[in-house]
């Protein structure tokens, strides 16, 4: 849920600015963040110069808002119940998702689906920045972008997973994928036991965002 306030009352005094600095907070009893003013200034200037329109920006925000873990969960649930869909998904993920769910996947990037098995558990990271399958799952969580996650999950994945409450036995291979280039990874978790007869919608409810990143397993059925 977005907050619609441009006046972000955030006392970020990390900047060492003198009084003549245009970046200094204004002295009216309120602190306005420089970066918020910067974003507004850039947006206004680009609109005035005809480089972007406010409609472009709204459209882009709406398009990104429409990508959420719920969409990914639908994909996973369908793969669990429909072997033909799953085969197409693994072979050609973005095209299959676009065709099946009517969601345009206009991206130059490729999506790769990593299937968890009883022998292999996948977990995804981008150590160099924050690459994430945004075209499907939306904006990544803050922890995924943190230096702590990016530093540690490659060298001590089991410890990191344990912090998330996920413990896997030693006979399961933990496979970390570092998204260092133009591929984006979606983990296809294993279907939990005891879910026979559940509908696709009920199954989708079990699929959490973190289970599609690999730091968690799907919820167990009630």
């Amino acid at each position: 849920m977005a907050t619609h306030s441009e006046h972000h009352h955030d006392h970020h005094h990390g900047h060492d600015h003198g009084p003549a600095d245009p970046h200094a907070p204004i002295d009216d009893g309120e602190t306005v963040r420089y970066e918020h003013l910067l974003e507004a200034a850039i947006r206004e200037l680009l609109e005035e110069k005809g480089i972007l329109t406010s409609a472009d920006i709204h459209r882009q925000i709406d398009a990104q808002d429409s990508r959420t873990p719920a969409l990914g969960a639908k994909v996973v649930a369908k793969a669990w119940v429909d072997p033909a869909f799953k085969a197409k998904l693994l072979a050609s993920p973005l095209q299959t998702i676009a065709d099946t769910f009517g969601v345009p996947m206009n991206t130059p990037l490729e999506l790769v689906v990593l299937e968890n098995t009883p022998q292999v558990h996948n977990v995804v990271v981008c150590t160099l920045c924050s690459c994430y399958p945004r075209m499907l799952l939306g904006i990544p969580p803050a922890w995924y972008k943190s230096t702590e996650y990016r530093s540690r999950v490659v060298v001590e994945p089991r410890k990191v997973l344990a912090e998330f409450g996920t413990v896997l036995p030693d006979d399961v291979e933990i496979r970390v994928s570092d998204s260092t280039a133009d591929l984006r990874y979606l983990v296809l978790p294993m279907r939990p036991a005891g879910t026979e007869g559940m509908t696709e919608a009920e199954l989708a409810d079990l699929v959490t965002r973190d289970s599609m990143i690999g730091t968690a397993l799907p919820r167990a059925p009630r």
């Binding site: 003013l37 974003e39 200037l45 920006i57 920045c129 943190s146 702590e148 990016r150 060298v155």
Partner: protein, 107 residues
């Protein structure tokens, strides 16, 4: 021991992961939208690779202390200037103008 770029953090010692969830703010969505639009083929101001490079040019201290979206909007500013689409002067002037407008708008 090889020098690393500030973003090249894989394997470095680090503390516990803060897993608190934060709703995406309007500011964050706007910054994200600017990134996507400016790097789109239709606009083509620069590639996302250039934005990442600009972020990598932060000092280690700035990389750690500036928030994620703050780094992106600062990189956008740097790249728009580098590509001679905007100037630092007109950005600063517009920021000053916006401050005045907002100060006037307050009761």
């Amino acid at each position: 021991m090889q020098d690393r770029r500030v973003n090249d953090v894989g394997g470095l010692p680090a503390g516990p992961i803060d897993r608190e969830e934060h709703a995406t703010t309007l500011f964050e969505k706007r910054v994200d939208a600017l990134v996507m639009l400016l790097t789109s083929p239709e606009v083509g101001a620069f590639k996302v690779d250039a934005l990442r490079r600009a972020i990598e040019q932060n000092t280690a201290e700035d990389y750690r202390r500036f928030g994620y979206y703050d780094k992106w909007i600062r990189a956008i500013r740097d790249l728009l200037i580098e590509q001679e689409i905007l100037t630092a002067e007109e950005i600063d002037a517009r920021i000053a103008d916006i401050r005045k407008r907002r100060a006037k708008a307050r009761p």
